[in-house]
């Protein structure tokens, strides 16, 4: 256990390195999530032939800041019969859990500062993928606690819908990744990325797993076409009906952080992470190579975020029974078949 051993031996250099990286990651993640809100509104406007927000700064570039200030200044309302502590705890858990996955993401090749390698990954756990699943499965708590503590039937129903959906799709999500783990024969995200150098991206070997994982990621983030937790016509606002001010903003903002996390995980597992073909033959110094690799990863992430938004504004919502049927009766059998097929091909062709 790298983290515990670090503290056990009081390796201050390593600890300061990691703290700096944590600070940078925190700022980058929240910044990207903030600008995702603007991107979403701009993309929606483009798809619906509108202009979108353009008053705050050039091209509406200051809009996220304006929105943030507005949500902080708004009056904070806690319903009279709500459970006060849990009501506040709900959005906190949601946001914290959304940010926790960044600990295991390999953002690029190592940087060299004064000849010493500086890893761009907080912790290379050898159970990386399982860690991300543990975090995903904890995301349910924020929603459940928030929805229940509001003491409102619509909130509770929204929370139950959201969490059943998340629990159901976690299974298919986990199963769809087993072929990837089999091919890389490791659970560590760094090893899986390294196995995809050049054109060996997993999306070409495992297209079915990619489609299933991508759909499950949409469902886990509660985004259209699976945003049944907040169907306005049935449940008002879903689990955050009673929330106002910054606590509502945390729930909405956490969703964008989750989108960013999902896009990152998809880029790393299926789109080759920080690799692009011919990267090793550019003849760059290690530091420039590292910077290029970071930019590559972020280009892939931004593309995936765009795809998330593209889907949201073009596909209508599923019905609840269709959603459950898709998750349990179509995806899970397909995943199991995919695992069997991968195992068969691997044993037949690698010997």
């Amino acid at each position: 256990m790298l983290v515990l051993n670090t503290f056990a031996n009081w390796n201050w250099v390593l600890i300061t390195d990691k703290l700096i990286l944590i600070g940078i990651l925190f700022a980058v993640a929240l910044g990207i999530a903030a600008y995702s809100t603007l991107a979403e509104r701009k993309i929606a406007a483009f798809m619906q032939d509108r202009i979108g927000p353009d008053r705050a700064g050039f091209f509406g570039i200051l809009q996220p800041i304006v929105d943030g200030v507005k949500s902080i200044m708004k009056e904070e309302i806690i319903p009279g019969r709500a459970h006060k502590f849990l009501f506040i705890l709900g959005p906190c858990i949601f946001m914290t859990v959304a940010l926790m996955t960044y600990a295991i993401i390999p953002w690029g090749k190592d940087l060299f500062i004064n000849g010493k390698p500086f890893s761009l990954q907080l912790a290379d756990l050898n159970v990386g993928i399982l860690y991300s699943f543990a975090i995903v499965s904890l995301g349910v708590y924020g929603i459940m606690i928030g929805g229940w503590a509001s003491n409102n039937k619509f909130s509770l129903l929204g929370a139950v819908r959201a969490s059943t959906q998340m629990i159901s799709y976690e299974l298919a999500m986990g199963l769809s990744l087993i072929p990837i783990v089999m091919m890389a024969s490791s659970l560590s995200l760094r090893d899986i990325t390294e196995a995809q150098a050049g054109w060996n991206w997993n999306i070409f070997y495992q297209p079915l797993a990619f489609i299933i994982f991508f759909t499950c990621a949409l469902a886990e983030c509660n985004r259209t076409p699976f945003d049944l937790a907040e169907t306005e016509s049935e449940l008002i606002g879903g689990y955050h009906t009673e929330y106002s001010s910054m606590k509502l903003a945390l729930f909405l903002f956490g969703e964008y952080v989750n989108v960013f996390v999902s896009a990152t995980i998809i880029s790393i597992l299926f789109l080759g992470g920080y690799h692009f073909p011919g990267m090793e033959n550019l003849g760059l110094s290690p530091n420039w190579l590292s910077i290029v690799s970071i930019c590559t990863l972020f280009a892939k992430i931004f593309f995936m975020i765009f795809v998330f938004m593209w889907i949201r504004w073009t596909i209508p919502r599923f019905r609840y029974d269709q959603l459950m049927k898709l998750g349990w009766q179509i995806f899970i059998p397909l995943c199991i078949l995919n695992i069997l097929a991968t195992g068969l091909v691997m044993t037949l062709f690698t010997r």
Binding site: M1, L4, F7, V127, L130, F133, L138, I167, L187
Partner: protein, 167 residues
Amino acid sequence: MREYIFYFLAFVSIISALMVVFSKNPIHSVLYLVICFFSIAGHYLILNAEFLAVVHVIIYAGAIMVLFLFVIMLLNLNKESEPHKPAIIKFASVISGSLLVLVLVAALLKSENLNLPASTHPSMHSIGMVKDLGKSLFTDYLLPFEISSVLFLSAMVGVVLISKKEA
């Protein structure tokens, strides 16, 4: 340093386990139990059992406790609606609890002279890692592993059978 982490985790797990029993609101009990599971996962991490820790969080905190939370929230159990238990049930639970304590204490006293290898022993360092765990599961412990998977399968079939409407 390792000792301090251990004492902190032990403190958290004991306090939260006590709060599970003593808190009046069932929702609070469930949330304290989740905290307890997290601190136990921390203990596994100290013992170099990363896989066990993560799986513990996924299964207990992520799946089972969410279902508990579901049931309790939907049943809307409260202090007021909780039925008063008759004296005989309280008496029986005290007896069975004390018996369990007796067995646990006896087992702990017995295990003192077992001479277990310390967790700092080099051969114990990598046993919790995924690769070694998988290897020993599929070689040394293959039969128990397969038998338990058959058990799970039959449990799943049983659940499907029970939850079907027309039996």
